[in-house]
Assembly symmetry: C2
């Protein structure tokens, strides 16, 4: 693995670059926009995530000797193009929605402006990061809604590619999860980590009692004991016998959870362990979490369904050229006309229109001619959604690192508060608010 992100790129970006350097269009200034044509899976809103990771990777998008040697030998890139890549630094600007913000069909969540050459080669990296992270964040937000005030922990690392797992933990935290099992996510992004023991711990010992006794000796009675390796009722009895009624928690990882949780709660209460918490972790998704709302469950651990986007493993965002300069330097809106994939040309700005504090419309103001967009002034009930993300060769402060993650989590919590109640239902439906396009005056 290289630390450079430069070859996390589809080959055709470089093929186009080479041809553009040759025909003189490489320096035409362009605007590329990232948006989703629709909300996959009948979702009522999407959650943008990955922006902070993307900004950091763009700063690492450098063609060093390893990358250039490979391209020279294997990808038929000519010398002129190699020389251009060797000096590559993105010198344009990136604006977009804040990380954690909600989006709807057509929301221009990222706007990349620069020369064709410098902007086109970022396409693959931009989409890889935003599509994965947003798919996970959107699923996480739905689970957070379903869980209400009960805490959620992300524990899906083993069901995602090993580096994707770290990104998934980050996206889940932004969208309301409280902790992750993934240690690297803790180290790199400052996310709280959690975890106590697996079934292997019990199986390693000569008895369940030995295993529980050892765990309590090592970690204290505040720990959580996994009680379903053999028989749940015996497991609970053993747990309280070993740890006493101050046992922090028990975890249930199998069975018909509403029934099992009720039985375990009753048994714990009978034994006097009324403060011992119940965590459930078996094959949960937002629907299973919602179905447990009336059960005596204190916390949820979610794995597979979270890191795979709960049926929608990619957000389906695209990176489209929407405006460019012509040979004379005049701006033109552009769009393809392909069946089912037509898009709206022209640079855009975006606003969340609020009525009494509740979101009512995603307003996208289109400026084909590319005049100054001061639409915010004309929309006093609207919150402007674009903010500066990358300028002067570096990420704008506040969006990257662990502090960027915290800011995104806080922003997400505010944004979701603005949604109308109907947006929070889990069933398949239309987007919660309409996207309305308006031409700039």
């Amino acid at each position: 693995m290289t630390a450079s992100s430069a070859l996390l790129t589809d080959r055709y970006e470089l093929t186009m670059l080479q041809a553009a350097l040759r025909d003189g269009t490489a320096d035409r200034r362009c605007v590329f926009e990232v948006f989703a044509r629709r909300l996959a899976g009948g979702r009522r809103f999407g959650v943008l995530a990955g922006t902070g990771r993307l900004l950091e990777e763009i700063a690492r998008f450098r063609f060093g000797d390893d990358e250039l040697d490979f391209l020279r030998e294997h990808a038929a890139v000519d010398d002129r193009t190699l020389a251009w890549l060797a000096d590559y630094r993105f010198s344009g600007t990136i604006t977009g929605y804040r990380e954690g913000e909600l989006y709807f069909p057509g929301s221009p969540v990222l706007v990349v402006e620069g020369t064709f050459a410098e902007a086109v080669i970022l396409e693959t990296l931009v989409l890889s990061i935003l599509n994965f992270d947003s798919a996970v964040a959107t699923a996480a937000a739905r689970m957070s809604v379903a869980a209400g005030d009960r805490p959620l922990a992300e524990m899906g690392s083993r069901r995602a590619q090993e580096r994707a797992a770290v990104a998934a933990a980050r996206a889940a935290y932004i969208a309301g999860f409280g902790a992750t099992s993934n240690l690297e996510a803790g180290r790199v992004w400052g996310i709280p980590t959690m975890g106590t023991a697996a079934h292997a711990w019990t199986l390693l010992h000569d008895s369940e009692e030995d295993a529980f006794r050892s765990q309590v000796a090592a970690l204290g009675v505040g720990t959580t004991l996994l009680i379903d390796t053999y028989d749940i009722r015996e497991g609970v009895a053993t747990a309280i016998r070993v740890a006493g009624t101050d046992l922090g928690g028990v975890r249930i990882d199998s069975g018909d959870l509403p029934l099992v949780a009720a039985d375990v709660r009753a048994q714990l209460d009978e034994l006097g362990a009324t403060d011992t918490r119940i965590t459930v972790t078996s094959d949960l998704d937002e629907f299973a979490i919602a179905a447990l709302a009336a059960s005596p469950v204190d916390a949820y651990g979610v794995g597979t369904s979270l890191v795979t986007g709960s049926g929608t493993p990619t957000a389906g965002m695209v990176y489209k050229l929407v405006a460019r300069q012509d040979a004379e330097g005049s701006w033109l809106g552009v769009a393809k006309a392909s069946a089912q994939k037509a898009s709206q040309g022209g640079r855009k700005s975006a606003f969340r229109v609020l009525r009494d504090g509740t979101a009512s419309e995603e307003l996208v103001v289109v400026s084909d001619g590319f005049e100054e967009l001061d639409a915010a002034e004309r929309h006093p009930d609207a919150r402007a959604l674009h903010t500066a993300l990358f300028a002067d060769g570096a990420p704008v402060d506040g969006h990257v690192g662990a502090s960027g993650v915290r800011a995104a989590r806080e922003h997400h919590a505010r944004a979701i508060e603005e949604l109308p109640v109907r947006a929070l239902a889990l069933s398949r439906s239309e987007p919660a608010i309409p996207t309305v396009y308006r031409d700039a005056e």
Copy 2:
């Protein structure tokens, strides 16, 4: 990002380690096995992938200062455990199925033997890699079956997390794809790369004709022109006018593909471009590919459905303690008894039983007492599936790097030839061959 893989790990592995170092069970020798309880998505076979990547990452599984500092400050790991981690090198053995091999429910695809301490902490990394890579490889194999002799290119990088995209390209190549768009997969794993131009290329230019002319000038008439930015019929006419009848290919990325492909082929033939190839790339999966079998299509490019496992984004493999030594050093088979998640204790060896060269049974020989398994001798019609993968502190030769990928691709092609014809249908069904457990005599 760190180059170490050590923190790509669930926190509870280290919590268990700490408790095991304290109670003396850390040094008990253990056997952990990786298997899938079922074939997700009603698949008839699974394809194991990721083994080579895993062996390389295990060699990089080292706790350096960054990792240890984090654990000391944030994960409540005690000093004894930190000291143990600082010296960590996996000293056990790993055997398993060859990469590219097929698997069925219960197939013991990986067997990790070592002390509890050194083996348990690999769980998350093992599963992250094998679950993702195998999900993609399994989808890729189904697409390869559907495509028959027509070439397949992987182009899903933008629909997967950026590092997962590289792994996906690798897995697809092992399972029969011929090329990838992902440049890093070319650099690191030696996979052929491909790609010419996107819609942005056409939109950048003042006309489609300008764009085609420039592309042909830069890349030659053997290139592939994307002809659906505006009107497909005009696109084809322009392409042949610009490039002549020696044009290498055209690509169609939208529309009702069987109809469009037939129209484009007829138009190309009318224009005399009878050797110009047609590549289609719009939202393909194995079913869409199968539906195009009678259409005049020459090659397929597959994105989203491939890198998301075509509806099954994770293979659902688990890493289970199946045998361990007790305090006296005797081996015991162990298994949990949880509802719906019971597993088969005891160390296992595995054989693909063949009848006249066709696979008929996945034979899993269980050895609770852990005596020598010489089952191969007793099964002359069976191919032994386990091979040495990691020993003496390093990956066994032949499984890692670009040469390991080539070996896995070749092995996969041979293994799939052994399947009965019914295994190659795409509909949901039972596994193509039964898994039969037998106790060692």
